[in-house]
């Protein structure tokens, strides 16, 4: 230990007050009496909420309820009328392929 260290180490330090010791004693005594803190309790609430959410999700996944509408076979018959019918039934001799059929309108 050199000179400055020795001088510093020989100084008498101010001590904490009796009031602080009393406050600390009261705080420790209260902590000993107190059951698990609210923070810890809320921790269990969060765990419970998480478990309940998981259970609901699992129930929804395995439930027998139909998730999509049942598929049904639908048949659409498109009939040409007028000149188009004539063209389809009796195509001109020079036509080597059928005219292109374009259907406009919304589908069900």
């Amino acid at each position: 230990m050199n000179e400055p260290e020795r001088i510093l180490a020989n100084q008498r330090l101010a001590a904490p007050s009796a009031a602080l010791d009393r406050r600390m004693h009261d705080t420790f005594s209260a902590a000993t009496r107190t059951p698990p803190s609210p923070r810890r309790t809320s921790h269990w609430w969060w765990l419970g909420a998480l478990a309940a959410t998981g259970a609901i999700v699992a129930l929804l996944l395995v439930a027998p309820w139909p998730r999509y509408p049942r598929s049904e076979q639908m048949v659409y018959r498109i009939e040409a009328k007028g000149p188009m019918r004539q063209l389809l039934l009796e195509p001109p001799a020079n036509a080597n392929r059928l005219p292109r059929l374009v259907v406009n309108g919304s589908t069900p």
């Binding site: 050199n2 000179e3 400055p4 260290e5 001088i7 510093l8 180490a9 020989n10 100084q11 008498r12 330090l13 101010a14 001590a15 904490p16 007050s17 009031a19 602080l20 010791d21 406050r23 600390m24 705080t27 420790f28 902590a31 000993t32 803190s37 923070r39 810890r40 921790h43």
Partner: protein, 161 residues
């Protein structure tokens, strides 16, 4: 917190109260604020679910943060870490230097040098513990300490009666 941990924390306070107090006063410069900072830290620790594995550096770091907060609020640094009546009360031989003189020397150091010297000499922390507390490399702490002592040595030489 379990009752065993509460008792461990209480034992730590009893064993370290002087170290923590000197450190807190060296930062706040105000004894009342230092006591409030220490009390607040232990209140928060008791509300925690579990104590950290390395309690000593953790508590010192908490006290440092609380003391710095208190310093920002008060911005008044009047109180010394030393007992000013040491010379007058007849307990032991009078020291070669008055406490206010040494306090004045310490105030000439940089904050890092000052804090490191207080932690090393008065709070009994190792360089490694101080490095962990300040979150800086160990050589940096050793350098702060050495530079601080060099400055103090110059002041001692100059002021020696």
């Amino acid at each position: 917190m379990s009752s065993a941990e509460t008792e461990a924390l209480r034992a730590f306070y009893v064993g370290s109260r002087q170290h923590l107090y000197t450190y807190a006063v060296s930062i706040t410069g105000n004894r009342e604020s230092a006591e409030d900072a220490i009390h607040g830290v232990f209140e928060q620790l008791l509300r925690r679910g579990k104590l950290p594995a390395e309690l000593r550096p953790y508590v010192f770091r908490c006290v440092r943060n609380a003391a710095l907060d208190a310093l920002r609020r008060t911005k008044v640094r009047l109180d010394s870490i030393f007992e000013v009546t040491a010379v007058l009360d007849g307990r032991g031989p009078p020291p070669a230097f008055q406490s206010d003189e040494i306090e004045r020397w310490l105030q000439t150091l940089s904050p890092d040098e000052h804090e490191t010297i207080v932690l090393k000499i008065y709070s009994d922390l190792t360089f490694q513990q101080i490095a962990d507390l300040r979150q800086v490399p160990l050589p940096t702490v050793a350098s702060w300490y050495r530079r601080g002592l060099d400055k103090l040595r110059t002041l001692v030489t100059t002021d020696t009666p």
